[in-house]
């Protein structure tokens, strides 16, 4: 456990010693801020429209899908590129401790950025009379945290396959786009009776977020889905690191 924490805290600190962290935070908050502002403008003109938590949670989830590859790509691919993986693999650290440590570092960093977005529901609560519905805020953020865990997990697993961070970045982004945007139209095209449709529908990343958690409903199935994806990714990442020893 101690090793996991040592590795995670190094990764976490390292994000802040490079401009990447600040750029990611800046872009994310800028985009969310613009969406937020525009929604407030719309609300000012349309008497019936009351902006809720969805005006920043939906773009936040989408932005996370796009920026997480930039957070995770470095984690193991950079170690392989620099050759420092050899030091970690000859230090008294188990392979799974290394992988989980890397994941935790990236996850905590992402959570730090997500934590800043709390200002949006706080502001909204002040602006909307008599305050916004608290349920979707809590369930929505639970969903965002689970989504981060799963995305970083997949990112770490993919990062372990590459020794070129850019290749890892592009692959991770491709996988995320597939899971987040492409699976949804596939399920619609295949219709309710297609073979294997249940699996494809189950893997649909955005559906597990938008169907319930986003609307204020905490469904155990969705929580289990994101946690299983995280666990499976970390397991595969460990296998991949271990297989790297044999080459």
């Amino acid at each position: 456990m101690r090793n996991i924490w040592i590795i995670a805290s190094r990764e976490y600190k390292l994000y802040f010693s490079s401009p990447v962290a600040y750029m990611i935070a800046f872009v994310l908050l800028l985009v969310l801020g613009i969406f937020f502002f525009l929604n407030l403008q719309v609300a000012a003109f349309q008497p019936g429209f009351v902006p809720g938590v969805e005006v920043f949670l939906a773009p936040l989830a989408t932005m996370l899908v796009m920026i997480t590859p930039a957070v995770t790509t470095r984690l193991l691919a950079e170690e392989k590129r620099l050759g420092t993986i050899e030091l970690l693999l000859t230090a008294p650290v188990r392979d799974w401790e290394l992988v989980i440590g890397k994941w935790l570092g990236g996850f905590l960093f992402l959570l730090t950025i997500v934590a800043i977005t709390i200002i949006f529901p706080l502001m909204l609560n002040q602006l909307v009379k008599p305050g916004i519905d608290q349920g979707p805020v809590i369930s929505g953020y639970i969903g965002i945290i689970l989504l981060c865990a799963a995305l970083v997990g997949i990112g770490v697993a993919i990062s372990s396959l590459f020794s070129n961070p850019i290749a890892a970045f592009v692959t991770t982004l491709g996988v995320f786009i597939f899971l987040w945007w492409i699976l949804d139209p596939i399920t619609r095209v295949m219709g309710p009776a297609g073979s294997g449709i249940d699996l494809i529908r189950y893997l649909n990343f955005s559906d597990h977020f938008f169907a319930n958690l986003f609307r204020g409903v905490i469904e155990l199935g969705d929580i289990i889905f994101y946690l299983s994806v995280t666990a499976l990714s970390l397991f595969l990442g460990t296998v991949s690191v271990e297989m790297g020893r044999w080459r």
Binding site: R2, N3, I6, I7, R10, L14, S17, S18, L82, G83, T84, I85, E86, L87, L88, L89, T90, A91, P92, V93, R94, R245, W246, R247
Partner: protein
């Protein structure tokens, strides 16, 4: 203590090392000598628990490198050939990270101690990306000895350094060899000669010879060469020496020194000295001129008997091996 028995490692169809057996005891600096791609890096990686062997057994301090890998890794300090470091960390932070991963007590003191030992005090808060090759090498060494390991494994520790730095690193290794078992690889022969107590010559994954550098030379050349310098004119000295039993091939070299070979198993030097002095010459110097390890090495690694296993694809496989180890 290192014990290696029948160690074999295959990369796909290519056999990188083949049935290596050797030991290393306390207080020994063991040199691994061989051309590039001979299997030195592979052997070292197995010994520090980085990769498992295909066949055979290796023990470090009594722990098996496969079954008790973590115990082995706790007791081994390793510096890979490429000296991998994190460029975006400072020397101090990097060493602290490596010390933390080894769960050392009084981490900061340990780091300060090792920084002092490696003469890195002035650069402790510099980013590693700003260090020269020589300084990086020292940081790599510092990282390898920070936990005071029983066994120190150094892969080509002087490669890419300038002559002054090479001497510095060699002195350091010799110093470290007093407290640790040091296993170092090199393809520089004079380095093995200067630094190591024992040399294992490895070629195409097989041990071709192993002994002290001196004995390796003696054994392979059989005879010893001795050079004699006398004051003034050395005319007629060759004839005088001719009568002494146990010496052959007397000649005068360009400097005017007399060079002869001793017959293996005989020690004619006292007799030579007496004869020279009684013949009225002023004996200034008499010293052995060993045939360098270089010759021994070339002799051993060249003219290999043809390999029984698939000799036709051997060269290509070898090159791949080199590239893998270089990465």
């Amino acid at each position: 203590m290192i014990r290696v028995e029948g160690l074999t490692k295959d990369y796909g169809p290519h056999r990188a090392i083949d049935d290596l057996t050797f030991n290393a005891e306390e207080g020994e600096i063991l040199g691994f000598l061989g051309p590039n791609g001979a299997g030195k890096t592979t052997t070292m990686r197995i010994l520090c628990g980085y990769m498992p062997p295909t066949l055979g057994k290796a023990e470090v301090s009594g722990y098996d490198v496969v079954d008790q890998s973590l115990e082995v890794r706790r007791r081994v300090g390793y510096m890979p050939e490429t000296v991998p470091l994190y460029p975006d960390m400072t020397v101090f932070d990097y060493l602290k990270y490596m010390a933390d991963l080894r769960h050392l007590k009084n981490v900061e003191d340990r780091v300060d101690g090792v920084i002092e030992k490696m003469n890195l005090e002035k650069r402790a808060s510099s980013f590693i990306s700003s260090l020269s090759k020589g300084l990086r090498q020292r940081v790599g060494l510092a990282q390898a000895i920070i936990h005071d390991p029983e066994v120190l494994i150094l892969d080509e520790p002087t490669i890419g350094l300038d002559p002054a730095q090479i001497i510095e690193v060699r002195n350091l290794i010799r110093e470290l060899g007093r407290e640790h078992i040091v296993l170092l690889s090199t393809h520089i022969l004079s380095e093995a000669q200067q630094v190591c107590n024992r040399v294992i010559i490895i070629n195409n994954g097989k041990i071709v010879a192993g002994d002290t550098p001196e004995r390796l030379q003696a054994r392979l050349t059989g005879a010893r060469h001795v050079s004699v310098q006398v004051g003034g004119d050395s005319d007629g000295l060759e004839e005088v020496l001719n009568n002494i039993p146990g010496i052959t091939h007397i000649s005068t070299n360009v400097d005017g020194n007399i060079v002869f070979e001793t017959v293996p198993g005989q020690e004619p030097r006292p007799e030579v000295a007496k004869t020279i002095v009684s013949a009225g010459y002023d004996l200034l110097e008499m010293r052995p001129v060993g045939i360098s390890l270089e010759n021994v090495f070339l002799q051993l690694t060249r003219d290999e008997p043809s390999h029984p296993e698939s000799p036709e694809d051997e060269p290509i496989e070898d090159e791949e091996g080199v590239e893998q180890e270089g990465n």
